[in-house]
C-alpha cells in the first residue's frame, strides 16, 4: 500500500465537548460530596451505608463515575493519539482502554447497588 497521510475523519467536536461537560458534572458532584464529608467528619461503615442508601446519592455517585470514565476515555485516547504512532498498537491500546473503562462502569454499578 502506498504510504499516504490520510487525515480528515470529521469528528472530534463531540468528544471535546463531552470532556468539558463531564468536567463540570464532576466538579458539581465533588462539591456535594465535600459538603457531606465536612459535616460528617467521622465516617463509620454504617454512615457510609446510610449515605449510599439514598437513591439520589447513588444516582449522583454513578453520574460522577460515568463522567469520570467518559472524561478519561477522551483524555487517554488523546494521549495515545499524541504519543503512540503505530496504528495497530494504538488501536489495541484504545480497545484495552474501552474494555477497562466499561468494566469499571459495571463494577461501579454493582458496588453502589450492593450496599
Amino acid at each position: 500500500m502506498v504510504k499516504r497521510i490520510v487525515v480528515g475523519a470529521h469528528y472530534g467536536l463531540r468528544d471535546w465537548l463531552m470532556q468539558r461537560v463531564t468536567a463540570v458534572i464532576m466538579v458539581l458532584a465533588t462539591l456535594v460530596f465535600a459538603a457531606f464529608f465536612v459535616t460528617h467528619l467521622s465516617m463509620e461503615f454504617e454512615d457510609w451505608q446510610g449515605f449510599l442508601s439514598f437513591q439520589a446519592i447513588r444516582v449522583l455517585t454513578l453520574l460522577f463515575f460515568l463522567s469520570l470514565f467518559l472524561h478519561a476515555w477522551v483524555g487517554i485516547r488523546d494521549i495515545l493519539m499524541d504519543y503512540v504512532q503505530p496504528v495497530g498498537i494504538r488501536l489495541t491500546l484504545q480497545i484495552a482502554t474501552i474494555i477497562a473503562l466499561v468494566s469499571y462502569a459495571l463494577w461501579t454499578v454493582s458496588i453502589l447497588w450492593r450496599v
Binding site: V7, G8, A9, Y11, G12, L13, D15, D82
Partner: protein
C-alpha cells in the same frame, strides 16, 4: 559576550554539535541579530536566515535560551549568558540555524488562507463595518515565522496531521472575515481529531509569539463556532 550555537552541516558533520563563541560587541549592537552577525564576521560558515531585521519578515525565528523568538527583535540586554542558540525545534535542520519549513507551510496552505467569495466583485471593494473589521485584529498580523507551531508539542508529535497554531490562527482569520463565504467548508475542513483537536490549550504558542498574538484564543473561537453549528 558568550554564545553556544548549534552547528550542523549534513555534508561534513556526522552529527550536530554546540560551538562556543566569545564575541566583542560594538555599542551600536542592540538586538541578538546584531550579535549573531558579529559572530558571522568571525566565522562565516555559520548559517542562518535573516532579511528585514525588524520583526516583519519572520525569517530569523530560532530557539534562544530555550524559547523560540525572532533574533532581530530580541534585545541583547534581555539575554542570560552564555546565550544558547538552536534552530526551531521539531523541523528538519538543513544547516546550522536553518530549518526546512515545508511541513509548516503545507499546513498553512491546507486551511485555504485566502478570501473565498464567489459573488460578483463590486466596482470598488468589499466593505466591512468597523466592528467586523475589529475582529481581524490580532489575526492578520501573523508573519508566519513558525515560532508558535515549533514550540507546540502537538505539532512536534503530529506535524503532518495537526494544522498547528499558526495555521489555525490563519484559519480563524478567514472564518472571522465577514466577506468570506466558505465558513461551512472551512469548519468541515477543520473538524477532525487531528487537524484541530490535537490542540490541548497548553498555550506555548501564546507564550512565544513575537508579535504578541494569541493562537489559543483563535482556536477557542473555532471550537465555539463548531459548537454553535452543531448544537
Amino acid at each position: 559576550m558568550k554564545f553556544n550555537v548549534y552547528r550542523y552541516n549534513p555534508e561534513t558533520d556526522a552529527k550536530p554539535y554546540m560551538q562556543s563563541y566569545d564575541v566583542e560587541l560594538k555599542s551600536t549592537d542592540r538586538m541578538l541579530l546584531d550579535a549573531i552577525l558579529r559572530i558571522k564576521e568571525m566565522d562565516d560558515t555559520l548559517s542562518l536566515r535573516k532579511s528585514c531585521r525588524e520583526g516583519v519578515c519572520g525569517s530569523d525565528g530560532m530557539n534562544i535560551n530555550g524559547k523560540n523568538g525572532l533574533a532581530c527583535i530580541t534585545p541583547i540586554s534581555s539575554l542570560k549568558e552564555p546565550v544558547e542558540l538552536r534552530p526551531l525545534p521539531g523541523l528538519p535542520v538543513i544547516r546550522d540555524l536553518i530549518v526546512d519549513m515545508s511541513q509548516f507551510f503545507k499546513q498553512y496552505h491546507s486551511v485555504t488562507p485566502y478570501l473565498v467569495n464567489d459573488t460578483v466583485a463590486p466596482e470598488k471593494e468589499r466593505l466591512q463595518s468597523p466592528e467586523d473589521r475589529e475582529e481581524l485584529n490580532g489575526l492578520y498580523e501573523c508573519i508566519l515565522c513558525a515560532c508558535c507551531s515549533t514550540s507546540c508539542p502537538s505539532f512536534w508529535w503530529n506535524p503532518d496531521k495537526f494544522v498547528g497554531p499558526a495555521g489555525l490562527l490563519q484559519a480563524y482569520r478567514f472564518l472571522a472575515d465577514t466577506r468570506d463565504q466558505a465558513t461551512n467548508e472551512r469548519l468541515d475542513n477543520l473538524e477532525d481529531p487531528y487537524r484541530l483537536f490535537r490542540c490541548h490549550t497548553i498555550m506555548n504558542c501564546v507564550d512565544v509569539c513575537p508579535k504578541g498574538l494569541n493562537p489559543s484564543l483563535a482556536i477557542g473561537k473555532i471550537k465555539e463556532m463548531l459548537v454553535k453549528r452543531a448544537v
